[in-house]
Structures are given as structure tokens and as C-alpha cells.
């Protein structure tokens, strides 16, 4: 075989072939792309620890970690909205980066897919969203704020099958900050993403990402009750979350850190059955291994 590159002069290629090939030589990332992706990464994996590395590779300087982490989710959310819109319109999975550990893949395609080990309600992941939350969810979101966390946990146990079989240790962080079955709905109401204004969805995604960042920071700082409250707020506010995997991963981590290892393991199993390729999978498996 002639292994001379066609792109070179005096190769077997003709002039146009060479020119076409050469047109692909200088296609590098546009200015700002390196910093933008880095901000998204920081949002997903947390700010760097230790001295920062200089731009070196030719990109723009990295802003200080904390502000980046705080603003990263919104920036990333905004930057991925085009992708989101395309994904929704096509009924395929969409990806978003948010706080707390990795990337999220919501609403896997195709629209309805059977997944063992979780109840049928969770198996049917709709490509479309109902116009209103399911009745059970609506009831839970209208809980009075004065209710204690323990009461809330007990109430939650009645609508969360995986958590029901778990004995709650004392002291306990309420065992089901989010339901593993949360986004499940088989409603055939018109496609929500296509009807909802893009600006509204962008705003919602940013708010959701901010709440999860807050929960993550609280969780990592050991403020478990605060993390629980924040996750609850997220659950109440976003009954059909864009960032479901992220929220569930944080909820599982909360369970684990609060000593509810069995409950955490059950939730991990359900999570992995549903999202085996999730970027959270490795970390969650670690929780399960520690529980053995």
C-alpha cells in the first residue's frame, strides 16, 4: 500500500483532493471553548484542590474555583440548552452537567423502556412530560412546611417502595429525600418540552442546578440536615426534574453518610438498574461496597 499521505504534494491525490484534505488541518477549538468546558467540568466534579495549573494548553486562564463552581451550573445549563432542545424534540436522551459529581442523562431513549427491578411506574420513562404533576406528587408538594423531618420521612416511606422495607436507624436522616421513582409517568398528555417556552425551561434548569449545587456543598461539608432540606426543596419544586440522576445520587449519598447503609444500597441497586451507564455509577457502587 502506498503510505504517502495524500495531503502531501506529489502524492497520488489530485489537487482538489489535497485542498479538501488541507481544509481540515486548521480546525482547532474556538477561543473560549477550553474555559467553557473547564467550567462545566468543575461544576460536574467539584472545584480543584491544590494549586491551579496554568493555561499551558493555550486556553484562557482559569477563574478562581469557588466563583466558577457557583456560576458554572448556570453557565453550563445555558450552554447546553440547545442540545437539550434538540434532544427533547427528538425524544432522545439529553445530557446536562450539574453540581455534584458527574453528568446526568435524563429521559433515556427510546421513550418507554422496560427496566427490571424497579416498579413498572419507574420503568416507563416518558419522552414527553405531563402538563401537571401526578396526583401523589402534587399531594407531597403541598406538605405544610411546619412538618418535622421525621414526620416527613415517615410520610415519604408510604410512597417510596424501596425505602419502605428499610429500618430507620436513630438518629436518622429521613430516609427518602427523593423518590427513586420520581420522574416516572406514563401520561400521554402533549409533549411538555415542545410546549414549554425555552426561556422558562432554561430558567428552571438553572434553578434546579443551583439547588443541587447547594445540596452538594452542604452534604460535603457534613451539614446533612441542611442537605436534606435542600434536596426536599428541589423535590418539591421540580417534580419532573431535568437533573433527576444528580438528585438521586445526592440523596443516596445523603443516606450513606447518615448511616442508612441498607437503604442507600437498595437505592443504588435501583439506580444502577435504571441507569447502568450513568457517570454516577462508579461512585454509587462504592457506597454499596462499603455497606457490605
Amino acid at each position: 500500500m502506498n503510505t504517502k499521505r495524500w495531503i502531501d504534494d506529489a502524492s497520488d491525490a489530485d489537487e482538489l483532493e489535497r485542498e479538501v484534505l488541507r481544509s481540515g488541518l486548521d480546525e482547532g477549538p474556538p477561543a473560549g471553548a477550553e474555559s467553557e468546558v473547564w467550567r462545566g467540568l468543575l461544576t460536574a466534579i467539584g472545584p480543584p484542590v491544590g494549586p491551579p495549573v496554568g493555561p499551558g494548553g493555550g486556553g484562557a486562564p482559569v477563574p478562581p474555583a469557588a466563583p466558577v463552581a457557583a456560576g458554572g451550573a448556570a453557565a453550563k445549563a445555558a450552554s447546553t440548552l440547545g442540545t437539550l432542545a434538540k434532544g427533547f424534540a427528538a425524544g432522545i436522551g439529553v445530557s446536562v452537567a450539574v453540581a455534584g459529581g458527574a453528568r446526568i442523562i435524563e429521559r433515556p431513549a427510546p421513550a418507554v423502556r422496560a427496566i427490571p427491578t424497579v416498579s413498572q411506574g419507574a420503568e416507563a420513562v416518558p419522552a414527553t412530560r405531563p402538563a401537571a404533576a401526578a396526583p401523589g406528587r402534587a399531594a407531597s408538594t403541598s406538605e405544610p412546611t411546619a412538618i418535622t423531618q421525621t414526620e416527613r420521612a415517615q410520610a415519604r416511606a408510604t410512597d417510596s417502595p424501596p425505602a419502605r422495607a428499610v429500618t430507620v436507624p436513630v438518629p436518622s436522616i429521613p430516609e427518602s429525600p427523593t423518590s427513586a421513582l420520581e420522574p416516572a409517568s406514563t401520561s400521554s398528555v402533549a409533549a411538555f418540552p415542545l410546549l414549554e417556552p425555552a426561556a422558562l425551561r432554561k430558567s428552571q434548569l438553572e434553578q434546579e442546578a443551583r439547588l443541587l449545587e447547594k445540596a452538594r456543598a452542604e452534604l460535603r461539608s457534613g451539614a446533612l440536615a441542611a442537605a436534606f432540606a435542600t434536596l426536599e426543596a428541589s423535590r418539591s419544586k421540580f417534580s419532573l426534574p431535568e437533573l433527576y440522576q444528580e438528585r438521586e445520587a445526592l440523596a443516596i449519598e445523603l443516606l450513606h453518610r447518615s448511616g442508612q447503609r441498607t437503604a442507600a444500597s437498595e437505592r443504588v441497586r435501583a439506580f444502577l438498574a435504571r441507569f447502568p451507564e450513568s457517570p454516577h455509577a462508579a461512585r454509587l457502587r462504592g457506597f454499596m461496597a462499603e455497606s457490605r
Binding site: L21, P48, P279
Partner: protein, 173 residues
């Protein structure tokens, strides 16, 4: 984390370029690049640095591109096909890039990987083989097939342009 950031800074452009050449749409490149580096971050502890980091990065990029290609295929099914590339009369840079993309899109992902690594990254068959975990002979056969595709797509395009010009001439006269 500093080590991760160092890898990111050193190889961001390489990953970006690789994904582009593997057919990831430009609008998806930030997300796809982030996907690659999330994998790097998660698995960095497993990397032993005995092999070249670019080999590892390219393998991850290839997987990400492959996944996205499948998702794109699903999307096209929904909408009934991709938009045909725009035709232009004068072969300026953008048009040549469009021609290149059209030719690359006509290749399988494996052929595309070999073709772009060889022709655009300037790598040899022996360098590409471990990168793709295939024998060097396979690299050469894929390159041959990819070149045939490249040449065929350009020839077809030129024929179409000549045909269009002929029709234009008929209208003028």
C-alpha cells in the same frame, strides 16, 4: 486534580479535534469534550502512564463519538434523514470543509478514525494500530477503503457540479 487539570490543558485541543474529525457535530463538541474528560477524571487513577496518554484519550473519544453517532442515527430516524450538505459553486475554504465532512460522513467510524489520524494528524500505520487496538495490516486496509470512499464522494460531487454548470449553460444559451 492538578494532574487532571494538566492533562486537560495539554490535550484539550487534541480531544476537541479528534471528536470533530470523528464526526461529532460542532454544536455538540463542548458537551462531547466534557464527556471525554469526565471519563478521564473518573478513571485517571487506573491509568498507569506506561502507554501514551493520547492513546487513551483517543480511545475514549472514539467511544464517545460512537455513542453520539448512534444517538444521531436515532434522531435522523425520527426526522427522516439528515439535511443534505449545502452546495456552493466556488470552492472556498468553507466549501472544502463541507466536502471533507461529506466524504468523512460516508465512511464507517473505523475508517474515518484511520483516515483522519493518517491524513490529518500525520500518524503512521504503526502509530495508529495500538491507538485503535488493531493490527497494522487492518489500519492499512481501512485506510485503503477510506481513501476509496473519499475519492468516490469527491468525484461524485465534481460530476454533479459539472452537470449543474452544464444545465446553467443551457439556460444561458
Amino acid at each position: 486534580m492538578p494532574e487532571f487539570e494538566h492533562i486537560y490543558r495539554q490535550h484539550f485541543a487534541f480531544v476537541w479535534r479528534s471528536l470533530l474529525r470523528l464526526g461529532v457535530p460542532r454544536s455538540d463538541l463542548p458537551d462531547a469534550t466534557q464527556d471525554v474528560f469526565l471519563v478521564v477524571h473518573r478513571r485517571l487513577a487506573e491509568f498507569d502512564f506506561r502507554s501514551r496518554i493520547t492513546t487513551w484519550l483517543y480511545a475514549i473519544s472514539l467511544r464517545i463519538a460512537s455513542n453520539r453517532r448512534r444517538a444521531a442515527a436515532h434522531r435522523y430516524e425520527v426526522f427522516g434523514g439528515a439535511e443534505p450538505p449545502a452546495e456552493a459553486e466556488s470552492p472556498h475554504l468553507e466549501e472544502k470543509r463541507a466536502m471533507l465532512e461529506q466524504a468523512l460522513d460516508a465512511m464507517t467510524l473505523d475508517q474515518r478514525a484511520v483516515f483522519t489520524l493518517f491524513e490529518l494528524e500525520g500518524m503512521t500505520g504503526d502509530q495508529i494500530a495500538p491507538l485503535l487496538d488493531v493490527p497494522t495490516a487492518t489500519v492499512h486496509s481501512r485506510l485503503r477503503l477510506a481513501r476509496e470512499t473519499f475519492r468516490r464522494v469527491l468525484a461524485r460531487r465534481r460530476a454533479r457540479e459539472r452537470f449543474d454548470l452544464g444545465r446553467m449553460g443551457e439556460r444561458i444559451t
